[in-house]
């Protein structure tokens, strides 16, 4: 199934792929934290989620 893409299209796809990789790499953990934080009742404080120390975790 050989088919050819024009160089321009290929470049655009590669550029889009690179950008989406960066967005995924740095956005995935914040996405998980946001989803968890917004769906949890009562909402936990961000400090208690991000700090390694077990403070304010009542």
């Amino acid at each position: 199934m050989a088919f050819r893409l024009s160089e321009e299209t290929k470049e655009r796809i590669v550029k889009f792929h690179e950008l989406s990789q960066v967005a995924f790499r740095y956005g995935f953990i914040p996405l998980i934290i946001y989803l968890g934080w917004s769906q949890t009742t009562p909402r936990p404080s961000l400090i208690s989620l991000l700090s390694p120390l077990p403070m304010n975790r009542a």
Partner: protein, 381 residues
């Protein structure tokens, strides 16, 4: 494939809320269509499916999980973490499940100094991400495409590039099919990447057979490669035996014996029949066969001890012990008699949870596993 580290941390996070129930949900497709030919074909499938259901077979494990109990439960390999390691685990909610873990590790040459991991899971979605101090992300996204079919994406992004594996599990009443594609790309005018399937089928209630096929082309200039793996698994209440033959000529055999509820013994052997794998790894021809024997013992105070000896003159033990309600300690050691080297490891796991989680956990202690599902998220895995 999940790394050892991922398996460890994921396991510990899931253990916390008592998950890990099998998710293979059986559903049957109703045959109904107004087009006569289609309805005839669907009717035939329905009849075959009814006949198969009549045998009363259960869904077997996936082909790659045939020796899972041996490799990941009894052998010490997955639990050996030399050096010092501390995991701080915080569960904020159990439905939807929301959990964060921060790990600090030093002196094992494999784990990063710091890793932040988060899990968000509902009954239909499971998201797990871990970002380490080298800014490498490993992500695991699982979702139900239907009540039975599970789709999965595993990705790893670091400075060296990104790898992504896309997977779909299709369970039937007596078999399971898993289709996988790794780094698929059509940009170079031909398909490059790796695609594979694995299929396992229950033959009797105890015996299951599996086949796995792989097709890959790393670069459009090179020819594609393909191969098949074959395997079988026999499991009864007292023992489980499995064997597989890979396309590279490696024969793997494993055997697990349950001596009692708390004591299990296992033997795992890998034989390189062609000698190619050892030659590629630059090893001596004598190392073509390795055998490991291990025993796992669970104590009444929930401590777990694993002992292992292998044919390369290595002795190892891993002791997991619950020191306090919120703290678990792992001590491990491996002594290599041939090289006279020794590895030591100490891991500490601190677990904390929000007040609402404590309340839920108190509540479900008196409930059965079925009833507790209403309080706990049961994510697809």
């Amino acid at each position: 494939m999940a790394t050892i580290d991922e398996v460890r941390s994921e396991k510990s996070q899931l253990e916390l809320v008592g998950l890990g129930v099998p998710n293979a949900v059986k559903d049957s497709i109703k045959a109904s269509s107004k087009v006569p030919v289609v309805s005839h074909v669907l009717g035939l499938f329905d009849a075959i499916s009814k006949r198969r259901t009549a045998f009363g077979l259960s869904t077997p494990p996936k082909f790659e999980d045939f020796s899972r109990e041996v490799e990941k439960e009894v052998l010490t390999t997955y639990y050996m973490v030399p050096g010092l390691r501390a995991d701080l685990n915080y569960t904020a909610a159990v439905k939807p499940m929301f959990n964060v873990m921060q790990s600090f590790a030093v002196g094992n040459g494999r784990d990063n100094a710091y890793t932040f991991a988060g899990i968000y899971a509902t009954n239909n979605v499971f998201l797990r991400g871990a970002l380490d101090s080298d800014k490498a992300l490993s992500a695991h996204i699982v979702g139900r495409l239907s009540p039975a079919i599970i789709g999965r994406i595993q990705a790893h992004a670091s400075d060296r590039g990104t790898q992504a594996v896309y997977e779909v599990d299709v369970p039937f009443s007596d078999s399971i099919l898993c289709i996988r594609a790794a780094n698929p790309s059509f940009l170079d005018s031909k398909f490059t990447g790796m695609s594979s399937f694995n299929f396992s089928q229950s033959i009797t209630s105890k015996l299951a057979l599996g086949i796995s096929g792989l097709w890959q082309r790393q670069s459009p200039d090179y020819p594609a490669q393909a191969g098949f793996d074959l395997g079988g698994r026999f499991s009864s209440d007292l023992f489980t035996a499995s064997g597989s033959l890979s396309a590279q000529g490696i024969l793997g055999l494993s055997y697990l014996q349950k001596f009692s509820d708390k004591i299990q013994g296992a033997i795992s052997t890998s034989i390189d029949l062609t000698g190619m794998a050892a030659a590629m790894a630059g090893e001596a021809p004598g190392s073509a066969c390795t055998t490991s024997a291990a025993i796992k013992m669970e104590y009444p105070d929930q401590s777990v001890l694993r002992l292992q000896a292998d044919s390369q003159y290595k002795l190892a033990f891993v002791l997991e012990r619950i020191v306090a309600d919120t703290m678990r300690m792992t001590i491990c050691s491996e002594f290599d008699q041939a090289k006279t080297t020794c590895k030591l490891g100490l891991g500490l796991q601190f677990e904390s949870q929000s007040e609402s989680v404590e309340g839920v956990m108190r509540q479900i202690q008196t409930l059965s596993q079925e009833e507790s599902k209403t309080y706990l998220a049961v994510p697809p895995q």
